[in-house]
Symmetry: C2
Subunit: 157 residues, 2 copies
DNA sequence: TATTGTTATACTCTATAACTATA
DNA sequence: TATAGTTATAGAGTATAACAATA
């Protein structure tokens, strides 16, 4: 299909949805600031809610180098949110666990992060039942993290 | 209202919308990578499409220091996308303009950035007319940039 | 005196390489 | 030999401070 064949009704719908996107992004950053966290710290923290995780696994999920996980976990420890403990089965491995403060923080963040963005209520008030029915039929990939670690690239010269 | 009073139907709708959000974010980063740009470079570049802009104005819009604008514009010049020219009315001021390559790049980016995310078509196929009608009634703040410059903060210790 | 932009510098982010300890 | 984690270091992102030129 030709590149000029833009679907204008689709564009129009997206133009209405996009502010919701922005509102959510702002909400997420507000939550991070509130807790003094950066995206990588928050992502690592939320990986720990279901129990201790090995540092190697954190690096794999965040698609970053192991040495950076060392730095992130250092920070989480300094913040009193997590602790390192040696694995009982493999003495090379360290498992990262939440402290009580970390559990409390992660739980609160989890709630705030999964919350609908401000503005959605207004949207849904228009005709919530109909919208829910339409959206209910939708199946999209939900496996990705909303705020993954994102590496940097050089802008070149 | 109590904090435990979560609106479950709203949550459900948001859980359907969120993958669209992620798909768009991925699409945006793919476009940036394709052109070898970082978020601040792309934001600065898209500020220039309607004509030359003073560096001071770029700093104001991006909410960053003037010295960082110097670095960004250096990069855009090295990439052959923009040029500095002295203002004819105030000799302290430099105006940043797109090169022909910059115009072409910015135009292409503008198209790709404003495009609906993959997945929206599937959503709308369910009942596009109804959805459009519902969304058409919505009024949200559209003044913010989708990908603003975002400053860093220290994680504290 | 106030403002635009640049330079010098410093701090944060994140990766690579070399290393230690363990498997 | 291969793997988990740490340390040292270096490059890229971004701010602050001091400065030159102009208003």
């Amino acid at each position: 299909m030709a590149s000029s064949a833009r679907d204008s009704s689709l564009d129009q719908i997206w133009s209405k949805l996009q502010p919701l996107f922005i509102a959510k992004r702002n909400q997420v950053f507000a939550v991070m600031n509130e807790h003094g966290l950066t995206p990588p710290h928050m992502q690592a923290l939320t990986m720990l809610v279901d129990g201790p995780v090995r540092m190697r696994d954190i690096a794999d999920v965040m698609v970053c180098d192991a040495s950076y996980v060392t730095a992130i976990v250092d920070n989480l420890e300094h913040l009193g949110l997590a602790i390192r403990r040696p694995s009982s089965v493999d003495r090379r491995v360290k498992e990262i666990a939440l402290t009580p403060l970390g559990e409390q923080t992660a739980a609160q963040i989890g709630i705030e992060m999964s919350a609908p963005p401000p503005g959605l209520e207004q949207l849904c008030h228009a005709d919530r039942a109909t919208l829910a029915r339409i959206l209910g039929r939708l199946e999209l990939d939900e496996t990705q993290s909303l705020w993954p670690h994102i590496g940097r690239r050089a802008p070149g010269r």
